[in-house]
Symmetry: C2
Subunit: 344 residues, 2 copies
């Protein structure tokens, strides 16, 4: 892709079958819409936070004086072990029970330490927790969805750095779609889709970060302005399978990537991020590659975001700047030094 | 569905193949996240608005002193008649040209008159404009996407009541998906999916508004809290095919539905709304029914919204209140009298 990518075109997402309309010529349009205020710098401890150590949660439970990663059951879970059993055999009005569990993962006792501000060892503990939760819940549920909503703009109801894990007996729609498409790719091409992609993209203009084990790219079909796809450079289907050195290199690339994100607009960069791993109990996973999606909403500054509305909801996503330009912008800021001095 | 719908379950969307996780037990969870301020009451004329009659737009063009509906070419279109021609035959990195046009439709010269505040005749002109634009652009393009983004929360960059029409040579992903699924339904059941649905739902607990020609329901599989599906009660594939009386009854139900929306939280209710019609040039449209989707973000008040983030992006949409409860709430407010006194 070269000069022609400055003109409108659409790109295909082989992982979920979607398309995105790319309209680079639109970067100059006017803006009179919503301007969201940037999140304020939080204190290291907030007595009003229901995730800080020792504080009382809304449900009445008291958090322990935890010192590392802390996992607990969500007080208001969307999924429960004993779901309803609605009638399900009507093709027009079809429903099914959806047993599952929801947990919260506090990354650190420090209210102000989001992922890029954790030490390597602390980030490594987060990776180990994701893997351990996946192993434990994967023994009972088909899907283990590990994710983080970061920032008020992304509906995060509490600024204390935390992620979630929602495990379910069913495989949710987006994961089922990726499963089917990866399976189809293997059948057609004789190799795994995301293995092919990691090989093909390792030296491309869409690379943001790379180390021996991992590759972070703005995918060719990115819908969100600074969307990133984090890929292993080795075969692996699920988080618990990661070897010791692969977890260490994962902590390294996560810190570098999220540091670049924060540095881009000098703000604690909002996003939804999460892992896709092969359904548990699926015997043959040759078509699957573990991977993470980062979906950040910001477009032009710490306060001007992209809205996925109207045409996006009814037709298909539309983006202004090209994925190649987004990758270049992320490469142009530091992945080593965070813009903001830390507490202490 | 009865008592069991108070417990978590998931529901299937036969129109696009998706699923939604329904978690009614979650309505009591705490909220410390973003609270968006309600939109202020706008003046009837705003000298700084680039859509008001006689004003100069950012691109330099001057709006005529229009008195009814006013259509013009978007100054910053996402789609253009002469797109790029990127290489497209690579299965990993696949792209294609996407010729099209983007227009803006001002519903009224009055800066403050959103759809529910228009007279019946004014609303009827809007319906006629949607049909005329579809006919004109449908002669050149396969898809004509008519939509409205309303409210800053939905990325609307200008509060002057207006919609858009984006026409494209390709059929966008969401429309292509609905096309395939409606085709499949006809093949399996011998009748059109949305005809079957309108018959089945005409007296259901999910009805919000109904007249002789049209039915507005919170669909069984609604993802957004107060999502509405507007269906014809007669066979019709595209907007230009609507007969005179059907346009009048459409204006009537649109006014009633949007009045209920505004009355629900006593605010100018934000949403993205748009029509899905059969691709133009498609000879056999027996499987297709014209319909409109309303996707409003508000959940609990004029300022507390639902965020489709994290689990929604990576797994599948999740909702708290049931569609049946949402329909009941919309029925409990007036569809005839708007809460806010109007200018003049
Ligand atoms: O065209 P507008 O109002 O400038 O822009 C709005 O609608 C477009 C079409 O849904 C979206 O792509 C934009 O993200 C949104 O801000
Ligand atoms: O679980 P939280 O942080 O209360 O809620 C947030 O994440 C959930 C999972 O992505 C979403 O369903 C909610 O809309 C969002 O506000």
């Amino acid at each position: 892709m070269s000069a022609d990518t400055a003109r409108p075109h659409r790109r295909h997402n082989p992982l979920n079958g979607g398309w995105v309309q790319v309209s680079p010529q639109r970067m100059g349009r006017p803006w009179q819409g919503e301007v969201s205020p940037p999140d304020p710098l939080p204190p290291a401890y907030d007595p009003a936070c229901y995730l800080c150590p020792g504080n009382t949660r809304i449900g009445g439970a008291v958090n322990p004086e935890y010192t590392g990663v802390h996992v607990f059951d969500n007080d208001f879970p969307a999924l429960e072990d004993t779901p309803g059993s609605p009638p399900g055999d009507d093709p027009l009005l079809r429903a099914e029970p959806s047993p599952g569990v929801c947990r919260v993962i506090c990354f650190s006792p420090d209210h102000a330490r989001s992922l890029p501000l954790l030490t390597h060892d602390q980030l490594r503990s987060v990776v180990d927790t994701w893997a351990a939760q996946s192993a434990e819940l994967g023994a009972r549920f088909a899907n283990v969805q590990v994710f983080e909503n970061k920032g008020a703009m992304m509906g995060c109801s509490n600024p204390h750095p935390h992620g979630q894990v929602w495990a379910s007996a069913h495989v949710p729609h987006e994961v089922a779609t990726e499963d089917a498409r990866q399976r189809d790719w293997l059948a057609r091409h004789g190799s795994a889709l995301l293995t092919d992609l990691a090989e093909r993209e390792a030296a491309s203009e869409r690379v943001v970060e790379i180390n021996d084990d991992w590759l972070a790219i703005v995918p060719f079909w990115a819908a969100w302005p600074f969307e990133v796809l984090l890929l292993p450079r080795f075969g692996v289907a699920r988080l618990p399978e990661l070897a010791d050195a692969q977890r260490a290199s994962l902590a390294q690339i996560l810190k570098a990537l999220t540091t670049r994100y924060d540095n881009l607009f000098q703000t604690s960069f909002p996003y939804s991020f999460g892992w896709h791993q092969a359904p548990f109990g699926m015997p043959d996973t040759r078509h699957w590659q573990l991977h993470a999606h980062f979906y950040p909403p910001l477009l032009r500054s710490a306060s001007v975001r992209k809205f996925m509305v109207g045409y996006e909801m009814l037709g298909e996503p539309q983006r202004d700047l090209t994925p190649e330009r987004a990758a270049q912008m992320l490469r142009s800021v530091s992945g080593a030094v965070h813009y903001r001095p830390q507490h202490e």
